[in-house]
Each structure stands twice: as C-alpha cells, then as structure tokens.
Amino acid sequence: MNTITALSLILFLLMIAIGGKKGVKSFIALFLNFFVLIVAVIIMNDVNVDPIILTLIACAFITCISLFFINEVNSKTKTAFVSTIMTVILMIMLIRLITEYGMIHGFGEEEVEEQTIFSYYVGVNFVNIAASVIIMSTVGAIIDEAIAISSPMFEIHRHHPDIKRRELFLIGMRIGKDLLASNANTLFFAFFGGYLALLIRFFDLGYTIGEIVNSKVFSREMLTIFAGGIGVALVIPITASVAAYVLTKQTKSIHDHEE
C-alpha cells in the first residue's frame, strides 16, 4: 500500500474511534481544505487574478469548512467566522508590507539550485504569492483561537445574561491570553519541523550568522513565525470585541421586544 494511503487510513480509523461522527467530519474537513488550497493554487496560475483577493476568498472557504461544517451554523461559529475574516484582512495588509520590504518573495538561492530546469519568467506576482503563503500557514491557528474564545464567551453570557459589555470583553481577553502561548508554540514547532533540513544545512556548510540571518529562506521562515505570532495575538482582542458586541446587542434587542 502507498504510505500516504496507509497513514490516512490510520488517521481516519483513529478519528472515528475517538471522535465518532465529529471525527468523521474532522477528517472530511481536512480533505475539503486541501481541495480548496489546491484549487486556489490552480486559479493563481492566471496572471489576471489578484493572489491577495484569491487568498482572502480561499480563507473564507476554509473558515466556513472548519467552523460551519465541523460544528454547525450558530451565533458562536458566526462570531468566530467574522472575527477570523477581520483578522485575516488586517494580517494581509501587514504581511504584504513585510514581504515587500523584507524582499522575501520568490525562491531562495538554495531552492533555485534544485529546480534549474524551470523557467522563472512566469509572469505571476511572487510578492503577493509570498504574502498568501504566510497568511495561509497561519489561518488554521487563527480559526482555532477564534472559536476557542467565542464559544466560552457565549456560555458565560448564557449563565449571566446581565453581564456588561466591557466585562464580557475582558473575560474574552483572559481566555484568549491563556491560549496565546500554546497556539504560538504549535505554529512555531510546525515551522521548525518543516525547516529542520535547512538549519542542518546551515551548520553543515558552515554558514556564518550574518549569512544565515540575511539569507532569503531563513528570513522568510523567521518572518513567517513572527507574522504567525502576531496573527494569533491579534485575533484575541478582535474576537473578544466582536463576541462582546454581538452578545450585548442581542440582549438589548430582546429587552426592547419585552418592553
């Protein structure tokens, strides 16, 4: 059997055994997300499509799948959806600046030497592609945090319907802060794991610190880690304020009806 098929099968069985119906949904969601990503890349081939807009649309789809398909459409997931999209838009603006000024777009020296048979004059804007890579690699963590903050905020509001907007916001912030370190860590290790070969190469070939720091591939990895950290931090106040706003607005309108 093919290695990937075998691993997928094991993952699928484990997810069913432990998660039941939700496990099956989580598994299908992984494949749907993969599909969205590949379709987005195929559309990016068209020079006339703006990769940034495309990334935003792809992120919206991915967020829908992760929130509405695995869970369900309710005010908790809707709030998480709005917060995720707001964070992604904010991040895209920041990341576009980072890729432009850091000049980390396109392929690095170490990558080009492996793909010499290809033409690099392909017409697609790689500055935008680089921004899209960074946002796509952090969107999973942003979604995770948005739902992890909005869900308990709704629960708390259900138990204490008279809670003030500011108090609710502060509770959301506290929940988010507790998640910050572990989410930043999750992303950080994933990036490190992916680029272990690069680090070993730097040591093996005797790169100096100056060469490592300024090389395109290394700076790109570092900037991706920084951007990911900024993303998982920014989503906290955004989700806390959106959820606090939605919840207190709802009570107000209910009270209005009662009057």
Binding site: A29, M103, G106, Q115, G140
Partner: protein, 376 residues
C-alpha cells in the same frame, strides 16, 4: 495601605520593564542600521538608479514576463573600499520569482571587483535583511506583550528557550560525526516538553499528567510513522525532492516529524490534563465514567482544529513550488506528488499524534487522579 503599596510596586516594576524594552528596542534598531563593519562581506548602499532596461520575454509555455535591468550606483559601507562609489547591476523580472527590485537606500551584499583604472564594479550576492527582521521581531514582541501581558511574556520566553534547545541540538548533531539525529532530537523533545509544561503550569499533579501524556503521544506518533514507512516501503514518498539537503534525508525527515508535531501534541496533553483536573477539583467525588465522557467531548472539539493548524502550517509553504511546476506545464498528479508527498506525510503523522494523545491524555490523567484519590 498594603494595596496602595502593591499598586505602586507593580507600576514601578512595569515602568522599569517598559523602559528596559524601549532602550533595547532603540538600541537594536540603531545597531542593525550601523552594523556594516561587523560583516566580513562587503555591503553597498544604493544611492542612485541610473538606467533601467526592459525587455519582454516569453517562455516555452507562452508565459509572458518582463525582465528589467537596473544600473545602480552605490557607496561601499565597509571593508578596504569603504566610502568609495561602486557600479552595480541588478536583473529582476516583473513576477519577481527570484531577484527583487532595488531602490535607493537598500543595502546589499556584493562581491567587489576593482578595474585597472580604479573604478569598482560589484556583483550582488544577497540583500541585507537584518533591519526588517529586527523590526518585525519587535512588532511581534510588542503585539504579544500588549495583547497577552504576562502570558505574552511567557510565550516569548518559551519560544526563545525552545529555539535555543533545538539550535543547540542541531549544532551538536552537526559537530559530531555519526551522531544519531533522531536520538538527539528525542532527547531535546523530552527536555522541551518538561521545561515548557512546568513553565506554564508549575508544580502540580496535572503538570506531571500533561508531561507524561505529551511524551507518550509524541513517541507513539514517531513509532507509528516509522512502522508505516517501513511496512509500506515508503511507496509514493519523494525523498529525492526534499529541500535543503546536506545529508541523507530519512533521519532529517523523521526528526522534522517529531519536532513539528510536538507543539500540537503538547497543546492536547495540557488541555486534557488541565480540563479533567478542573472537573475533579470542582467535584472530588466525580466518577471515572463521567471523567471519560467529558474527556471524550473535549477531545472531539479540539481534534478538528488542531489537525487543521498542522496541515496548513506544512502544506502552505509549497504554494510557490506548486505554481512554478504548473506554470512550467508539469501535469497535476506529478506536481502534487513531487511537492506534497512529504508535507502530507508529515501532516498525517502529526495528526495521528494529535488524535492519539486524546485517549492517552485521558487515561494518564484519570490514573493520576485515582492515584491522588488513594493518597487522600
């Protein structure tokens, strides 16, 4: 009175820390903008752009692109030619798939060649990126501190600590001949797990439960990954396409799987341990059955999003390569298998670790709770 004193001390501590950070920030910005003399390679700052040629190119696949050539004048910032003027040229395409477009003020590393008449010509080898790196690094630190305060600080400290441990391990590996990378990394994983979880939760039984579940989960994942790769004969995996290789790929790949999933597995281990212990602390008489049920519910909720995080963190990095293959006319199946086989394997193995850690965390934590009950 005591409260007043406390507030005063708190704000004073914050003030000291704030001032310290601002000094560090300003100091590091001044340093990276004036560190040219510490580099061995020559650095040139672009002072003017004399002329730009452009020509349209069409490759075999009818992709259109425009190639620009910039003729630049710059000033050498360090080394024996310091202060002298130099001529450079830079070729980049509109798609900017390789070289960037330069403008006045950019600093670049160059190899300098002196002509007979004393004029200097240089070839650009790399862009100086340290300023941007430091600036964005500070943006990262400030965002985490402003949003997360104490937890933000903890996050930064643990990131730095983990980086030091991993880099040290790789350094040891590179320095010793015949070292077993996987063995060294496993050791690093144990150290990182113990330090990180202690750092977050302190001395508490739930800390031990979290550490134990994380370690069992991580090594179970490694065992499964090795076994599956062995049993399937690595069919469909394109190790020859692995990037940045300077050594045989298997050990590096497996070490990457191990480190890559560690953050997510640790997250699951900590969530399971702390939420089950919270239930136990609310009600000391809670039955094992009720704990198992709650644990499963918690597990179901985190499973989907955690596997998603890993998946996107791994697979997104291949987008530029996928595009390059597609635009060069490579067929879909070939492109996906060349670029994605290893990333998908990594993501799947990591996800297996995540899902496995849910029951492992459940059992470990319940055993610890039972042990604590008996002791009481």
């Amino acid at each position: 009175m005591n409260l007043k004193k406390y507030c005063y001390r708190l704000s004073k501590g914050k003030l000291v820390m704030f001032t310290f950070l601002i000094i560090l920030f300003i100091g590091s910005i001044i340093f990276v903008n004036n560190n040219d003399r510490f580099y061995n390679r020559s650095i040139v700052e672009v002072t003017s752009i004399a002329q730009v040629d452009e020509r349209e190119v069409v490759d075999q696949r009818q992709n259109r692109d425009i190639v620009f050539r910039q003729y630049l004048t710059g000033v050498v910032k360090n080394g024996p030619f310091k202060g002298q003027s130099i001529q450079l040229s830079n070729e980049y395409s509109q798609s900017r798939a390789y070289h960037p477009e330069l403008s006045v003020g950019h600093a670049v590393f160059v190899g300098i060649e002196e002509q007979e008449n004393g004029a200097l010509f240089g070839e650009i080898t790399e862009i100086k990126r340290d300023q941007v790196l430091v600036l964005v690094g500070w943006l990262f630190i400030f965002t985490l501190l402003i949003v997360g305060r104490k937890q933000g600080l903890f996050a930064i400290i643990s990131l730095v600590l983990n980086t030091v441990i991993i880099v040290y391990t790789i350094h040891q590996f590179a320095a010793t001949a015949n070292a077993e990378l996987l063995l060294l990394m496993s050791f690093a994983v144990v150290v990182i797990t113990i330090l990180s979880i202690f750092f977050v939760s302190g001395f508490h039984v739930r800390t031990y439960a979290a550490i134990l579940s994380t370690l069992i989960g991580t090594f179970a994942l490694l065992g499964i990954a090795i076994a599956v790769l062995e049993l399937t004969g690595e069919q469909g995996l394109r190790f020859e396409e692995m990037a940045f290789l300077s050594r045989p790929p298997h050990a590096i790949f497996m070490a990457g799987v191990l480190i890559g999933a560690l953050g997510a597995v640790m997250d699951i281990g900590v969530s399971m341990a702390s939420s089950l212990f919270a239930l136990y602390e609310q009600n000391n008489q809670i039955s094992v059955k009720a704990l198992i049920e709650s644990g499963r519910e918690i597990g179901k909720d985190i499973m989907g999003t955690m596997t998603n995080i890993l998946f996107f963190a791994y697979v997104s990095g291949t987008i530029p390569s996928l595009l390059l293959y597609f635009l060069n006319g490579a067929p879909l199946g070939f492109t996906l298998s060349m670029n994605l086989s290893l990333e998908i394997t990594r993501a799947l193995a990591g996800s297996i670790g995540i899902v496995l850690t849910i029951p492992i965390g459940l059992v470990t934590t319940i055993l610890m709770i039972e042990w604590k009950r008996r002791k009481l």
